[in-house]
Amino acid sequence: MELHQLTLTQAVELLAKGEVSSLELTQALIGRIEDTEPRVNAYLTLTPEMALDQAKAADQARAQGQAGPLAGVPAGLKDVLCTAGVRTTCGSKILENFVPPFDAFLVSRLKDAGMVLLGKHNMDEFAMGSSTENSGFGPSHNPWDLGAIPGGSSGGTAASVAAGSSIFSVGTDTGGSIRQPASHCGVVGLKPTYGRVSRFGLVAFASSLDQAGPITRTVADAALVLSVIAGHDPADSTCAPRPVPDYAASLERGVKGLKLGAPREFFVEGLDPEVEATVKKAMSVLEGMGAELVEVSLPHTEYALPVYYIIAPAEASSNLARYDGVKYGLSVRAEDGGLMDMYLDTRSQGFGQEVIRRIMLGTYALSAGYYDAYYGKAGQVRTLIRRDFEAVFEKVDALLGPVTPTPAFDLGQKVDDPLQMYLSDVFTLSTNLAGLPGMSIPAGFSRAGRPIGLQIIGPHFAEETLFAVGHAYQLATEHHLRQPPL
């Protein structure tokens, strides 16, 4: 096995035993980045010199007996997370030269734990998209099939973890942006409960839905990363003031006696037969290990898509009003132009088409005369979706289902049809609307060799149950151990 193929758990163990130094591991990853980037394009910014300095510092600290839980482990991060002194573009031309003066809360946590920063991952502009094709800097490619999308919006992140150019990473998920690319790239992606991880320093898209979480090779790795980034942050008033449980301990709980629900509405027309067969097979594996499978119903599932595409653009139109060319970012100033010209020119030239589309949609939905019909109505239906989940979680411990309706589609296939593109999030949106934790784990491959994920959804703050189910599944299967043909 080569160093870049290590899981996070393995890397931490080898570093602790002194069998590999952080400098060696970081050099190996930089080599892997040089090898794979021309084909995968997972990174927007690389920081190799800084990474080597951090690796040396981590090795020195370890020699003095000081090593955090991620000490010396090299990783890139999604470019939606502010990194002090390192360019943070959010995939947008409007932030092409933005260098944040501070770290996101979770970035500080990762640094305190000893992470070595390799660079920043490509993504759909402002996290709006399902393929990375909305990146202002060109798409990433799926390591399993370079002609396929890696998913999005955390597509560069998932592709990088799959390609071995990052030992682990952290992405963000507003409607599926961690789970969908994780599913398409054959890695683990966890969207924690809303409020589990601070949003401070995470460039805002839709504030009532955005949540950051791990993208890793194994469920055990995801548990380790979450234990580092979760916890209360007074700088985010929506961050839950709850203690962080011992996630590592939850891995070994097993599934015996757990009741797992299969929502009828997740197995409907439009679900690719290969995805359906793979997900059902994974469910029977868990049943064989002692879980009880129960069919349940989430009757408002089909309304999640229209609710999401009102609420998310509405919040985005408000959040993205800050890009006005005054304080940071692109500023287009015509010679005889006034303030209004600056606003109009800066925003029109700086934002890409999908971002403009969503700002327009959100502005319309919030505008006088339409607010009740769109935003008001969507908020009410959101309540019905939330109640559906509350009712099923009185009967079952977690839900199982597909992550996406199809395996990864080809690059270019859906760029001109936004509504079709939106449909790829149809099974992930409702968990964001209800604030629930959801995780994608590798469950198999299509005949064409593209990965297929299994989604596990739990009640609020039941990440431990997701880890127990996911880890039990990974002990019994080997899909997560396969390496892409890169």
Partner: protein
């Protein structure tokens, strides 16, 4: 038609966006498709259902009202498109 070309133009001004003629036309078509898909919500009777703005009921997070360190002048202005070292400079407002 859910949204007319003149409404698209009006919304663009509200959103502080300058749209080319081509972009305007394309957006009018796409927004109409998307808004038509949203009509699905009208199937549901939601009278008496309270709205959800946030998935978790975390109301009124409080903290002591204490002064804390904040970004210094230089840091705050470091990304400014134009500044005199003290303030952000913008084009003439009036």
């Amino acid at each position: 038609m859910k949204i007319s070309p003149s409404e698209v133009a009006h919304v663009a001004v509200l959103a502080r966006l300058r749209l080319s003629e081509e972009m305007s036309q394309k957006l009018t078509g796409q927004l109409n498709d998307i808004l038509t898909a949203m009509d699905k919500l009208a199937e549901l009777d939601t009278s008496g259902v309270p709205g959800t703005n946030h998935a978790l009921e975390l109301n009124g997070a409080m903290r002591p009202d204490q002064a804390r360190p904040c970004l210094g002048h230089g840091q705050a202005l470091a990304n400014a498109p134009d500044s005199d070292g003290q303030s952000f400079i913008v084009p003439r407002v009036i």
